[in-house]
Structure formats: C-alpha cells, structure tokens
Symmetry: C3
Subunit: 172 residues, 3 copies
Amino acid sequence: MNVICWTDLIGTGVFAISGTLAALHKQKVHDILTLFIFAFVTATGGGTLRDVVIHAYPVAWISDANYLIVIITVVVIAIACRRWWLGILRRPLLVFDTLGIGIFTILGLEKALILGVNALAAILLGIVSALFGGVIRDTLANEVPLVFERQLYATPCLTGAIVYVLALRRGR
Amino acid sequence: MNVICWTDLIGTGVFAISGTLAALHKQKVHDILTLFIFAFVTATGGGTLRDVVIHAYPVAWISDANYLIVIITVVVIAIACRRWWLGILRRPLLVFDTLGIGIFTILGLEKALILGVNALAAILLGIVSALFGGVIRDTLANEVPLVFERQLYATPCLTGAIVYVLALRRGR
Amino acid sequence: MNVICWTDLIGTGVFAISGTLAALHKQKVHDILTLFIFAFVTATGGGTLRDVVIHAYPVAWISDANYLIVIITVVVIAIACRRWWLGILRRPLLVFDTLGIGIFTILGLEKALILGVNALAAILLGIVSALFGGVIRDTLANEVPLVFERQLYATPCLTGAIVYVLALRRGR
C-alpha cells in the first residue's frame, strides 16, 4: 500500500470520528447501525459522489474492505467509550476535520486530473469529495449543512485547491 | 420472469404504498406528480443508489417498465380511494414495510455478492437498498428519517443480513 | 456547437440565477463558495442525476468547461451587484424558472430516448432532470422542496412531457 492509500484511510478514519461525534451529540442516534450509517456517510459520501460522477469504478470502499474496517473500528470505540469519546475529542476534532478536508480536497482533485477531467471541474470535484460527506450527514440529520454556515471551511478549501492546480501547472 | 423478479416487484409495490401513505399523511402533497415522486423515490431510491455504486447497469426500473407500471398503479389507486387508503392501510403497512425491508435487504445483498463485492460491503449495500428509499423520502419531506428514530428497523435488518451471509458461507 | 448545446447552456444559466437568488434570499450564504455550490447544484443537479442513472458518461459539465464558466459568471455578477440582482430579478425569475424547467424536461426526455430508454422511464427522467436541481437545492437549505408545495411546476411539466412523447410517436 502506498502513501496515497494510507492518507486516504487516515482521512476516512478522521471523517468517521467526526460523523460519530455529530450523531452522538445530536442525540438522534438510538442504535449501533444508525451510528454506523452516520460515520459511513460522512467518511465515504463525498468520495463516492465524486467517483460516480467521473465514472471511477470500482468505488474505493467497495474494492478495498479496509475502508469499512476503519469505519467499523471507529464506531465500536465510540460506542464502547462514549463519554470519554465525546469529552476528549470535541476540541481537537475541529483540527482533525480541517485536516481531513485538506487531505480529501487534494486527493479528490488529483484523482479527477488523472482521469483527464479539466482543471476547473477537477477543483470542483476535489471540493465536493472533501465537503459533501459532511453535507450529506447534516442533511440526513435534518440540519443546514455546517459548511454553509461557517466561513471556516469552504473558502480555505477552495483557495487551497486553486493554489495546488496553479503550482502543478507551474511545476510542469 | 423468475421468483426474484416477482419478489422485487412485490417489494416495489409495498414500498410505493408506503411512499403514498407517508406523502398523504404529511399533507405535503398537492398534485398527482408529487405523490408519484414520493412513491417512486421510496420504492426505487435504495435500489438505484446500490446499482449506481456497484455499477450494475442498466438500473432495474429503466430496463423493465413493469416497475414504473406497478408504482403508477399504486398512485392511481391511492388518489382514487384516498380516504379508504389512509384508513385501511395504516396498520398493516408497518407489517408490509418491515416485510419489504427484509426482502430488499436480501435481494440487495445477493446482487452485490453476485457482482463480486466482498461480504462486508455486500451487507452494507443490502441495508442501503432496503433503507435508503425511505431515508430519501423522509429527507425530501424535510424530516429526520424514520429509520434513525426507531430501533424497529435498522438493527433487525443488520442482524438478518449478517445471519444470511454466515448461513451462505456455511452452506458452501 | 449546435442548437441543443446552446439551449442547454441557456437553461444552465437560468437555473444558476435561480440558485443564487434562492441562496441570497434565504441569507444562508456567507461566502462565495457556498453561493457557487447553490448555483451549481441547482443548475447541474437534475441533469447529473439523470446521466448517472442512465449511464450517459461523461456528464455534460465535466466534458465541457462552458457549463462551469456560465455558472461562475452568474455567481460573480450576483456577488458584484447583489442588491440590484435581488431587486430586478425576483419577478421575471419565475418566468425564467418555468422556461428552464420546460427546456430541461424536453432535453432530458430526448437524451433518455436516444439512449434507448422506454417512453415511460424517459418521461420520468425528463421530469427528474428539470425538477431535481431545485429539489436538491431546497433540501440542502433544509426546506421542503418548492416544487412539492406549488402546483405551478410539476403538473404542467408532466403534461408537457407526455404530449411531447405522443407527438413524437405520431410524427414517425
């Protein structure tokens, strides 16, 4: 397994943590499967959307069981140590979340560029893969997606993607 | 037409009934097309999502017009005998709904296994095809999906899928 | 570029305008990327859904950068002349929106028919491509989709699609 795979799995884990925290905090979760669905949707929603739109089959979490194993592990830990989980992870999560968004934007952008998508659409697809897991999670919880309410996420994500594409072009 | 096709069409009809009941009960429906969209989304949403993600084209309701005919028939009956429909079907529906979820979980799981998806992802895809029609329906109606609020649905669905896969393995 | 392409781009522009107006009016938008996502989702959501379901790859806005350029132009104008945009465009927009729905229904229907989809499913796909951009936009804004609340949109759209298919058959 190469560096990109590891980065991708780490991003998946971080987003799964974010999904369990969101679900537990909103107290809209009553059983383990629901908690798992929130973690799963947050971690894989954006990337799956991207892969389906650019026809990059098979989708990562289907061809490689490690993605689901990471998500299940996160959910089991979250259930087993619920109080500790909510107490300890609240603060650093914002850091992890932002890190996860950064990682997924670049990975998504690169995947699209490799498949021959033009730069404009690739930037958009990078952003979609980074942000739409959270967007789907919040929509399922019947809330306005966090990303639309906080300047924190979206603009840095866009800026990073544009800088990355310009740097790539310059480097060639 | 074989047994699987018939089971699938029956499941589609049951979920279409569930969709019309949900839409009529919420009084968010003002015309026949909206009622049809709710029935259609409930009946086909989960399976379509599964087929797109595992690249099982053509999607069932596109290659076989019988699915849409079943859904249209349900909607026409629901409009024609609205009062009777809401009165008579409320109670037994929960039974039908649970039955539909059971049928779709197994059908979805099998379809994924046939296409070579690993057991873990196949279980998840069975659950997605059974539950996400209702999840999309409730999300469009701007409500927290029923499935996340009731223990009734999700856990038995997960248990059944796992037992089925284990039994399959044992049987080989 | 032929007439269909131009019609498609005009429809995209009209729906992008509709998306920016909805987002600005709801005051749920705080930065330029969010505004862009609302415009983008409204303009491309329905068509992307249709293309993915009927396996019509590559999706239009990925293979042709003009779609994204039209949407970005609309968003930049909307930000630059925000007050004027909200004041002038409110009224005529309903006209444009209805026009856009008409255009997209026919284009979506034709694309499905060309790909060999049966008439019933093609009518449905025409409607999905015309209405689901707005449906996704409203769902992300955590509101019941406008199209389900107003008789204005859905039924004329359905009637038009059916008449069109009947006329096509007669014409052969």
